[in-house]
Amino acid sequence: MAETLIWLIAMPMAGAVATLLLPRQSTPIACVTAVAASLVAGTLLYAVSEQGSLSYEIGGWSAGLGIALRADGLSALLLMMTALVMLASSVYAGTYFTKAAARARFWPLWLLLWTSLNALLLSGDLFNLYVTLELLGLSAVALASFGGKFAAVQAALRYLLLGLLGSMMFLAGVSLIYAGYGTLDLATLTLAVEPEPVAWTALALMSAGLLLKTALFPLHFWLPPAHASASAPVSAVLSALVVKVAFYLLVRLWMDVFADLVTPAAAGLLGVMGAAAILWGSWQALRTERLKLLAAWSTVAQLGYLFLFFPVLLALPPGPARDTAFGGLVILALTHGLAKAGLFLAIGIIQQRSGHDRINELNGTAQRLPATTFAIALAGVALIGLPPSGAFLGKWQLLAGSFASGQWLWILVTIAGSLLAAAYIFRVLGHAFGNQSYPRHSVTIAREEWPALILTTLAVAGLGLAGAPVWNLLESGA
């Protein structure tokens, strides 16, 4: 079973090579790769739920000398979300890029991005994580600039520079860890690390780099232009996955490897930044004229909720209470990933059909593209955090945890953020359902509309109604 770990990395990578070498068949190859990689991710999820954590030592060298891949419940769930979002976006991308030459250039980069996402979620080695972060950053930048529009290239260049800055900070932390502990293996490090200057300086450096990459307020400024100017399938994975895996790594470091070092003050700082991100991001989303920018600003805000969990989790006693709240964090992250990807795909369809994404001119969209509008509404349910979406469960845990630990501020911020989210979502829907007579009333769902609809449905119904397995999985994989 442990071989699934290496297949999750080797498969998209081999797909990237194959699409590059056989440009004429690149689209079928990419689709086959996407389906196969998703099946492997599903197998891994099943294996982790049955057997608990899995690990794989590459080259047969014991971790430390060699590099180990590890998967627990958290990484298996995120790998599954990655697979779903990538699969749906791949189907969409196949119809989005109409020129065969563009598709042939797109697929290798796309599959390399998938490789890097999987590699990051599986890596158990600090320096290897640095390499995966760079692979992630470079493939994301290459994809963000894909198409070569001026705004996209400019935003991609900024994104690249900041990403590099973040990676360098991360690497500085890694070198300090090796100097102090003589190991790069996360499991070994977890046992060896002690609350002392070497460790916390390293953690601070690595966290600073990751916060830049995950765009936490006030380090968020690069995100909206980069996510809003990329092509729709790319925006979807940038917002849903790329920032999220950097967040995953932060969680891994703060809650797992360096758990002994984290103080309430540090977690509180992250909470305050998260709260600011929620309010500022939602406010900007409400004010913006363009649908894609709205979605991008909403990502800034939604990432804020995830950071609110840090002070809440730290205030809860280790044990069932904390585990339950942690499950809330995971389900919120998963819901946002699926919903945001679906939202960006839906926006892409609107933009392609009507040639623009100005919110004020969306009149009649509901009549012309009912399925897509429905997908946007579903994504909205998840972004606001209404039942039965998974986000409702997540936010409920956040509120319950804040209540239990007496941190009233987070409750206020969560409620305010949800109200603002409701405002910007209803603003969009209000325009989309705007009164415009439309001659034909044939309700058809085009092929490119399905991915967005499926992703948003999963976010609302799938995770919301069947959220319990998430907690079981986190427990069995711990």
């Binding site: 990237a16 080259g59 250039r105 980069l109 320096f127 260049l157 300086t201």
Partner: protein
């Protein structure tokens, strides 16, 4: 060894003053030349600190290729790229804000350097924990090579190198997607042409030598690839447009050579019932050389592509095949 101490001090001072000067100026061309000098001194520092493998890479990259890369970028006026974004400061309030920002960032950076140095000093003060270095030497005999750095790069941590080659491939694909290459250089005069005539074969021979020697002494795929790329850059600078980098499908094959050879070996071993990239000790030397040769080609192709700055177009007169 006071002479050595003074040498160390001079070396460090050179590094710091070059970096400061390269970063303080607004003249892009000056900045690049200073950075090239910085790379050269850095190569000396690597040599001084007994890291000849790194020194080789820095000599090929820092002092040669990246200089050529940055200089052509200056000619493209690339330094203007993000400039227009910052509006000129008109009001006094904005100017004050800018000064405050600069001071804050500077102070934060100084604090960061101090913090890092302090933590590093604490790490040094402990008993040296070189269990990993010991593990490397303990397993060196079954790694297939006798140069420990190559053993780490292509056997113990071969997975890192696989991902590194994927990073190179990604960069190449990104550059590729952005458009056609620069038009190329004018034919050089007789002096440089004469130099190129023997320099190119010498560089290719050196690349082969470095690849071969990497198994038991400093050297290896990356250093060899960078040297090979330098040969193509010299050809390009000499104005030989038609040679240097294949176009179309051949280029694709060269770009993915490293990743595909790595994957083929890794997955082949997996199918044979061994771990991914778990070479049998008897084959390890041969497999590593195989992978390194492919990696060298990929590295060279990517670096040359970077210097070209885009998709190379076929020589004039040859119709472009659609890909």
């Amino acid at each position: 060894m006071t002479a050595m101490l003074v040498l160390d001090i001079l070396l460090v001072l050179s590094l710091l003053s070059l970096a400061t000067a390269a970063l303080a100026t607004n003249d892009a061309r000056r900045s690049v030349i200073l950075f090239m000098a910085f790379g050269l001194v850095l190569a000396l520092a690597w040599g001084r600190l007994l890291a000849p493998d790194v020194a080789l890479a820095e000599a090929a990259i820092g002092a040669g290729l990246s200089g050529a890369l940055l200089l052509t970028a200056v000619r493209d006026q690339a330094h203007r790229a993000l400039r227009s974004s910052r509006k000129p400061v008109h009001e006094r309030g904005r100017a004050n804000l800018r000064v405050t920002l600069e001071w804050t960032v500077t102070l934060l950076c100084i604090a960061l350097a101090g913090l890092l140095a302090w933590a590093l000093a604490q790490a040094f003060d402990r008993a040296p924990k070189d269990t990993l270095a010991q593990a490397v030497s303990a397993n060196l005999a079954i790694s297939g090579v006798s140069n420990p750095v190559t053993a780490v790069l292509l056997n113990f941590r071969a997975y890192d190198t696989l991902l590194e080659l994927a990073v190179l491939l990604t960069a190449a694909l990104g550059i590729f997607a952005l458009g056609p290459a620069r038009p190329g250089h004018r034919a050089a005069g007789p002096v440089f042409d004469g130099l190129a005539r023997w320099l190119v074969p010498a560089l290719i021979l050196t690349a082969g030598y470095l690849l071969w020697v990497g198994a038991h002494a400093p050297g290896g795929a990356f250093q060899a690839g960078a040297t090979l790329a330098a040969a193509a850059v010299v050809l390009r600078l000499a104005g030989r447009r038609s040679v240097g980098l294949p176009t179309g499908h051949t280029l694709h094959v060269a770009m993915v050579a490293g990743v595909s050879m790595f994957l083929a070996v890794g997955l082949g071993l997996l199918v044979l019932g061994r771990p991914f990239l778990g070479y049998p000790p008897a084959w390890a030397g041969g497999l590593i050389l195989l992978i390194e040769t492919a990696a060298m080609l990929a590295i060279a192709a990517t670096l040359v592509l970077a210097f070209f700055g885009g998709r190379p177009t076929p020589a004039p007169g040859v119709a472009e095949k659609t890909s």
